[in-house]
């Protein structure tokens, strides 16, 4: 029961990844957390966050993002509980009460394995928790061939600041892709330059594509994506051209289409290839 539910709720995220890989940019699915505000002050500071996988950026037009891996880090490094969690068909939501001054790191982390294989010319698919992969292999029918399996590590984030941008919420988890802001990731204005370091398993990752897209593409003809690459130190910088909410995305690893189908009994089949994905939402306000 638990297992089935886990597999089902992860489906949108997997579809999102597959869509991103194969489809033209205009129809890409993107995963995001969208906070009601990124800069707060005064008493009773509360931020509400929506979470979804969508075609148009920051429109809840496709599927809710399941928040099983939600983790909110407060400025002092402690874990802040989310309140009023709910999941509807097209979006999930939760509230956060901000009490400590500083920047909060809001993340949803997921890890799953997606596999396909052929039995007598027919393609079958499986997806589930990485812990269940070994059992899945054992239960494969005799004659199964061309196994392609991907272990997907995804991290979706956004950041909000209460009073001053400070604190120590940014400690690498050391798994998959992560973003370490080198300048405060909140309280951004048009014309500001932000710098980040992209990490893979806790280490800077060089020469990796980063895509930045402003929300509201539903209302314009050109996507206007900003395409960047991390440098030798894993760094990239962006000068914010317009006010709006921006999505920062990166991925690393082999695409499922690149894989050679393996014999399920082979050693290679025991270790799915790894693909890591990352996305973050930041807000840029008028000067």
């Amino acid at each position: 029961m638990t297992h089935a539910r886990f597999a089902a709720v992860l489906a949108p995220a997997i579809l999102a990844v597959l869509a991103t890989l194969g489809a033209p940019a205009a129809h890409a699915h993107r995963t995001w957390l969208l906070p009601s505000a990124t800069v707060l002050t005064g008493k009773d500071a509360l931020v509400s966050v929506d979470a979804a996988v969508s075609e148009d950026l920051f429109e809840f037009d496709t599927n809710a993002l399941q928040l099983d891996g939600l983790s909110v880090t407060a400025p002092d490094g402690s874990v802040l509980p989310a309140e009023n969690r709910s999941t509807a068909r097209r979006r999930s939501s939760f509230d956060l009460k901000l009490t400590q001054p500083g920047t909060y790191r809001i993340a949803n982390v997921s890890e799953t394995v997606a596999a396909s294989y052929k039995v007598g010319g027919e393609t079958r698919r499986w997806r589930g928790n990485p812990d269940a992969y070994a059992a899945f292999l054992k239960e494969l029918p005799a004659g199964a061939q061309e196994l392609r399996a991907t272990r997907m590590q995804n991290r979706v984030e956004t950041f909000v600041t209460y009073d001053k941008p400070e604190g120590r919420a940014f400690v690498p988890a050391g798994v998959g892709l992560e973003l370490m802001p080198q300048t405060p990731p909140t309280d951004l204005s048009v014309g500001d330059t932000s710098s980040f370091v992209l990490l893979l398993d806790g280490k800077p990752v060089a020469d990796t594509d980063v895509t930045i897209l402003r929300g509201g593409n539903r209302y314009r003809y050109k996507m206007g994506e900003i395409a960047l690459k991390t440098d030798a130190q894993g760094r990239f910088s962006v000068k914010w051209p317009e006010a709006g909410r921006y999505w920062i995305g990166a991925s690393h690893g082999r695409r499922p289409g690149d894989m050679v189908g393996e014999d399920p009994a082979s050693a290679a089949a025991q270790q799915p290839v790894r693909r890591a994905g990352y996305s973050a939402t930041v807000e840029v306000l008028p000067q």
Binding site: V39, L40, T41, G42, K43, D44, A45, D163, K164, D187, S189, L285, P286, Q287
Partner: protein, 172 residues
């Protein structure tokens, strides 16, 4: 009360040993707006160095002081430029700087005895005026100020929507 206040301001200025003195009057017009729901604007006035727009001191901050438990502080961040330059670093209310919001119309502020000017090094500055209104817009207007003041003059500027006419009258 008034006497006492004047005395303490004069004493404070004397202790800070102002390098330069001048008469500065800033006239600010808050436009009367015909909107369904009008709230008086939050307004911040501060000094910036012309060369790099570096913050050089607060002159005035008008915000809602009447809300219980300093509740009006919640919207101070809406004066975005001020918030980034100074607001998030200081505790409200700010002695000698913060005050209540003001009604539409013209307001004349005498800034000659402002603390921010008391120890201001000579140079080219701007007085920045930022207005932000609940359910309304935001506007920033800058007026140049050469410090110390060498000649009497008036600098004018005109806001477009949230601020009206502004005039800075200076006399040595």
């Amino acid at each position: 009360m008034t006497m006492h206040l004047r005395y303490s301001v004069a004493l404070g200025a004397a202790l800070a040993a102002p390098a330069f003195a001048a008469d500065l009057t800033l006239k600010i017009e808050l436009p009367r707006l015909t909107v369904a729901e009008y709230h008086r604007p939050y307004v911040a006035l501060w000094l910036e160095k012309s060369a790099d727009q570096g913050f050089a001191g607060n002159l005035a901050v008008w915000y809602d002081l009447k809300k219980r438990d300093n509740g009006g502080a919640k919207w101070l961040k809406d004066m975005r430029q001020w918030w980034r330059k100074s607001g998030r670093e200081v505790q409200m209310p700010l002695d000698g700087v913060s005050g209540a919001t003001r009604a539409p119309g013209e307001h004349a502020l005498s800034l000659g005895s402002a603390q921010a000017l008391a120890a201001l090094p000579p140079g080219d500055y701007q007085i920045v005026v930022e207005s932000a209104r609940e359910n309304g817009g935001r506007e920033v207007v800058r007026l140049p100020l050469q410090w110390p003041v060498r000649a009497a003059q008036t600098v004018r500027a005109q806001g477009e929507h949230e601020l009206g006419a502004l005039a800075l009258e200076v006399k040595p």
